[in-house]
Symmetry: C2
Subunit: 342 residues, 2 copies
DNA sequence: TTGAAAGCGCTAACAA
DNA sequence: TTGTTAGCGCTTTCAA
């Protein structure tokens, strides 16, 4: 059982051929006679030969590893993304090294540096403001990158994410048509395009319906503070403006926290306040009376990201059109937004 | 920006020394004069030198990569585990390659094979029945393994997981003391030690309280069938035995599904049926009236796993005691199990 | 159809 | 205190 790993040299010896021949046969570059090829293949198989990735990597500069840099691998959205990406990558013989940034620029920087030492072949990255240079560096060094869940509006870098603006626009539009007019908007106080886009979708929908944007109805929750503090703050917001008849949460953790606040404030959904959250989760489908949510096409996002990356990997001078995807979301209508009988 | 990676050789040239000297300095193996050392260090730093991991790996046989094989990286438990493990590993200069088995033996096998070609330095694995040989093989080849969330009772392999039997025992004991007597048990029809242990905890608690185990109150939900089918089956079970006054779900996805069933059956918690689930999640804390759950010490499990692995990595002939951890869980009491007024 | 040999970047035994 | 050199396992050019 403790058999040492067998190498190409061993196989050459075993078959009375040269390492060159073995290498060619094993890599399917036909130039050898059928007999020899078969013998080598059989011997390799019998002995459980497997190429040493380090050696191949050192020689060819290809590691068959992809770096995945997400905000939080433990979260529902990124967890699912990670799963799909891994499954797709595995089919193609790639492995995934993952890291979480927790929205910290510093951490993102370090990790990119670390991954580049690891000599990964490509990257899938959740972008952060300030990471532009680092990412452009990667690309300048010839490694492909696909951004996920965000993008740099001014840079020409492939990305795939949900169509934030439109999907929020649609959700707000839906609320308005259901009779709600004083719609609050809760977001995180983070400078991320995806959040700005969501906010814009919200504002545009209001404006298109002739409703004035009221900044008092917009609440930016500070990031990275203790949960109790956040709950307190959010309760404060929800309580303060009793005239609010609906509220939109722009991220799933905000929605979940919002439900907790609403419960503690003893408000009923949707009678006292209608609720919609971005990013559907099990909580929203289960929590009574059922929370309407914007469902991200997680699977499609993940699949597209890996597809685009692989395309770049196999064809360096790829046509870069069709590598910037804003995929429509689906509004899952539940009873938290029942039409209002005004 | 498109600067090619700089190598040890370049530094040697730049500093008029030899690659040996550079290597020694960079690895902190003092044997060089202070002046030369400083010069080399500075030059390396200025040029952003970073060792080529492939080369180091090929030469030393150490990849600084750990393989993480879990049931489902997208799930709440494993997602959190993955996050902690990554954070700890990163501090120590290790990266994590992850894979999900989805409880498929075949997939687990393939992945272990694949990881071993990747030449990972160590493994953290969620064991599956049938994977014993493969795992023993890894160990025989000198790579350390720590099992997580499960173990092989007959094998002497380090592992860390929650104390399943005791924690379920305590939960059932709590239910009984709260006045419930006809307690159902829902589990997955998978042959996993952790599930058996949970079932045993359930049975023992009943027996210790002089309650007879009624197999009709135990339901094993087939794994890997469409969700609708599972819901149907579980509803069937919950409906069939109206005399059941409480039910224990032995996994979080079962608990969540159970809530859905209970809702559809229009039963109220805890009046019609009290509910406890294994593995606390956000759903349970939020879902009215609050679902009592067995909270796994996720953080501690993950931390211990990586610690034990690292200990083995740094000291091959480690004392193997203290490497088999069954960590106590905490019962989070909520209103789904309010004492019964009989 | 085959093989010898160079070399990817690094470590470390050995020599000076 | 420093440098020369072999070699980790592999791919690939060049020659036979």
């Amino acid at each position: 059982m403790t058999k040492k790993k067998i190498s190409i040299k061993d196989i050459a010896k075993l078959t009375n051929t040269s390492i060159t021949t073995v290498s060619f046969v094993l890599n399917g570059k036909g130039r050898t006679s059928k007999d020899v090829a078969k013998l080598i293949l059989d011997t390799a198989h019998e002995n459980g030969y497997e190429p040493n990735r380090m050696a191949v990597g050192l020689r060819t500069g290809v590691s068959k590893v992809i770096g995945l840099l997400v905000e939080n691998i433990g979260g529902p959205f990124f967890g699912e993304v990670a799963k799909v990406i891994e499954e797709e990558a595995e089919k193609l013989g790639y492995s995934i090294i993952y890291c979480s940034t927790n929205n910290s620029l510093q951490k993102g920087r370090n990790i990119i540096k670390m991954l580049s030492h690891q000599a990964v072949d490509g990257y899938i990255i959740t972008p952060l403001k300030g990471l532009e240079k680092d990412i452009q560096n990667i690309i300048a060094n010839g490694k492909p990158v696909v951004l996920i869940d965000g993008y740099f509006p001014k840079l020409d870098i492939p990305h795939v994410l949900v169509d934030n603006a439109t999907s929020v626009y649609n959700a707000i539009d839906y609320l308005i048509k259901a009779g709600y007019r004083k719609i609050g908007f809760v977001t995180a106080d983070l400078d991320l395009v995806q959040l700005h886009d969501r906010m814009n979708g919200y504002k545009e929908a209001l404006i298109d319906h002739g409703i004035k944007v009221d900044n008092k109805l917009i609440f930016k929750l500070p990031f990275d503070q203790p949960k109790a503090t956040s709950v307190m703050a959010m309760k404060g917001f929800l309580k303060q403006y009793k005239q609010m008849d609906a509220v939109f949460f722009s991220a799933n953790y905000l929605g979940t926290m919002g439900l907790e606040c609403i419960k503690e404030l003893d408000l009923s959904i949707p009678q006292d306040i209608a609720v919609v959250s971005f990013d559907d989760t099990e909580v929203f489908s289960l929590y009574p009376p059922g929370i309407t949510a914007v469902q991200q096409p997680v699977h499609e996002i993940a699949k597209s990201a890996i597809d685009i990356l692989m395309a770049q990997l196999s064809d360096k001078n790829l046509d870069m059109s069709d590598t910037k995807l804003h995929i429509p979301a689906k509004l899952i209508e539940r009873s938290s937004t029942t039409p209002k009988n005004t």
